[in-house]
């Protein structure tokens, strides 16, 4: 009898924690998204789809969708292209290339709050590194984080700076899995470097690219810390990404219903994305020998 129970006892703690803090909360979020509540009042009034209707007809929601989409559309290709280019160079095993990998990887394990604070200084109008450089070259100082046209690009820059090393490490692992004979064969054929890159490297790292594509899109839709510290979503909503709006609605406006509706929309969207990409990857994965 005890024999049969053994595996259940081993998985019990993990499953219990996941149930309390992950599985049940998802259902709770769905439930709360149909209600009106402010953390305080004794009743959680059932309002059906009203929270969703309010969200879908609010300018804030569509602004957050727009801002987050722009963020993803710019930052994802930027991350992948830079990472693949740098990884192709750093894939060789020299001391310099290892040091460089370390330097590039460091930000991805460093506190995001610290990075956001440091870059708030880098981009600050009066004392920042960038404006000091511009002033030295004789240009006007730019109000990076106060200009609605620029603030989102600052956020994209900081996020790319932080995440790039992770992408590079993954690409290097992918590149190292490419059999070197393929390169030898290609260069015997007189293939030039760009040609070899296009015809050999690119197709062979496709599975890695798809993996990073999923990861970076999901990341883009969960950006919060950098925005919260650097701009609080401003100026004028220019950096109000979806999770920042979720935090704002839930924990500063205390509108639990709408906050939950927003969380459910984000959840459904990201799951759909993950499932879609799982199918695409499933089809393309034959490159992996």
């Amino acid at each position: 009898m005890l024999r049969k129970l053994t595996p259940y006892l081993f998985i019990l703690p993990l499953m219990a924690f996941l149930a309390v803090f992950t599985y049940v909360p998802i259902l709770q979020s769905v439930n709360l998204s149909f209600r009106e509540w402010d953390f305080m009042s004794p009743t959680k009034l059932w309002v059906g789809l009203e929270n969703y209707q309010l969200l879908l007809s609010s300018r804030d929601f569509w602004n957050a969708v727009k801002v987050t989409t722009i963020f993803a559309v710019i930052s994802v290709p930027l991350r992948l292209a830079l990472a693949l280019a740098i990884a192709s160079y750093l894939v060789r095993e020299t001391i310099v290339s290892r040091l460089m990998r370390g330097a590039l990887f460091l930000p991805s394990v460093t506190s995001t709050v610290s990075i956001a604070v440091v870059f708030s200084w880098v981009f600050s109008t009066d004392y920042g590194m960038i404006n000091a450089g511009l002033a030295w070259l004789g240009f006007e100082r730019v109000q990076w984080m106060q200009d609605p046209q620029l603030a989102l690009y600052v956020i994209i820059f900081v996020n790319t700076w932080k995440q790039l090393g992770y992408d590079i490490i993954i690409y290097i692992a992918g590149l190292q899995a490419v059999p070197t004979e393929l390169y030898d064969a290609a260069s015997v054929d007189g293939g030039r470097r760009l040609h070899v890159f296009r015809r050999v490297t690119l197709p062979l790292v496709m599975p890695t690219t798809y993996f990073l594509l999923v990861v970076s899109v999901i990341d883009a839709f969960q950006v919060f810390t950098i925005v919260n510290v650097m701009t609080k979503g401003g100026p004028a909503g220019a950096t109000d990404m979806i999770v920042n709006m979720l935090y704002r609605v839930g924990f500063t406006l205390f509108d639990i219903g709408q906050g939950s509706a927003l969380a459910v929309i984000l959840f459904v969207f990201l799951i759909a994305l993950a499932v879609l990409k799982a199918r695409v990857i499933g089809r393309k994965v034959h490159y992996e020998a």
Binding site: T6, P7, Y8, F10, I11, L14, M15, F17, L18, F21, T22, V24, P25, I26, Q28, S29, L32, V96, S97, L99, M100, G102, L104, F105, L106, V109, T110, S111, T112, V113, S114, I115, A116, V117, V118, S120, W121, T125, D126, M129, W161, Y166, I169, I170, A173, G174, A177, T208, F221, Q222, N228, V243, Y247, I256, A263, V264, L266, F267, L270, I271
Partner: protein, 275 residues
């Protein structure tokens, strides 16, 4: 190597350029650490100086020693408990076939795709109901279960030959002893990688302590640093050297650890991604 002068000189130049690019890439962080040793007066006047006064101020006036302690306690406990819970589950998933086992494992893997923000409001309500907001427990409990660590360790344990388990069973060991005496020692590299992963993610966690903690005494470094930076918005009043000292305190433990164990970190990440 052939003593070919032109190409080796070319290589030196290339290496120097790459290293310079690396330094430039890290320059904001390097400069922030340097700035933390400047007096505010010297910094704003553009002089050079060396002082520890910013650190003294961060600790004495702004309680950063306490935040450091809070971060160490929370991340430490999350790491130990998280590893224990994940290793036990990984062992069962790797070694036992049992009714519901596949379903449970699929449910664990599914958590890798679930965006954590959907649990934010409900977890806040759960802990409020339990009276655990504003406590270490409130910071620790929601972070213990890591589907990623359980999945990763299960893959690793599956690679360990079963003959080793069986030899131990022959010697009269029970399942728990096999886990503790056979599986855990062999899995040390994987466990270490996952421990680092858990520690770093919890150390850098921001949104949860931000919503779950109101008492200043229980701030983690992340929340304390963000608050310190936000105390005086408006550029002319920010004491940048002080803020950078606080930021350096926040970065330092992970930075030091990084220098020592980078390889393990990279292994954990690439094994999770490529396998």
């Amino acid at each position: 190597m052939k003593p070919d002068l032109t190409s080796s000189r070319g290589m030196w130049v290339m290496n120097a350029l790459v290293l310079a690019a690396g330094l430039m890439f890290l320059s904001p962080v390097l400069y922030s650490i340097w700035m933390s040793f400047q007096t505010a007066d010297a910094y704003y006047a553009g002089h050079l100086d060396f002082t520890l006064s910013n650190y003294e101020l961060a600790v004495a006036e702004y309680n950063f020693a306490r935040y450091l302690l809070n971060s160490l306690i929370v991340s430490g406990v999350v790491t130990l408990a998280g590893i224990a819970v994940a290793t036990m589950a990984a062992y069962a998933f790797a070694r036992y076939r049992f009714p519901g086992g596949n379903l449970a494992f699929a449910a664990v893997v599914a958590t890798l795709m679930i965006p954590s923000h959907i649990t934010l409001i409900p977890n806040y309500l759960t802990l409020a109901k339990a009276g655990l907001l504003d406590s270490y427990a409130g910071l620790i409990l929601p972070a213990i279960s890591s589907g990623f660590a359980a999945f990763f360790l299960r893959q690793y344990i599956r690679g360990i030959p079963r003959a080793l388990d069986e030899a131990a069973y022959m010697d009269g060991a029970n399942a728990f002893q096999v886990l503790w005496r056979v599986i855990v020692p062999i899995s040390k590299p994987a466990i270490f990688s996952m421990g680092l992963h858990l520690f770093i993610s919890e150390w850098n966690n921001y949104i949860w302590p931000l919503v779950a903690i109101g008492k200043e005494d229980l701030y983690t470094l992340q929340v304390g640093l963000a608050r310190l930076y936000r105390i005086n918005p408006g550029e002319d009043v920010i004491d940048w050297p002080l803020v950078m000292a606080a930021s350096t305190i926040t970065i330092l433990p992970v930075l030091l650890g990084f220098v020592l164990v980078e390889r393990h970190l990279v292994r954990g990440i690439t094994m999770g991604a490529v396998k």
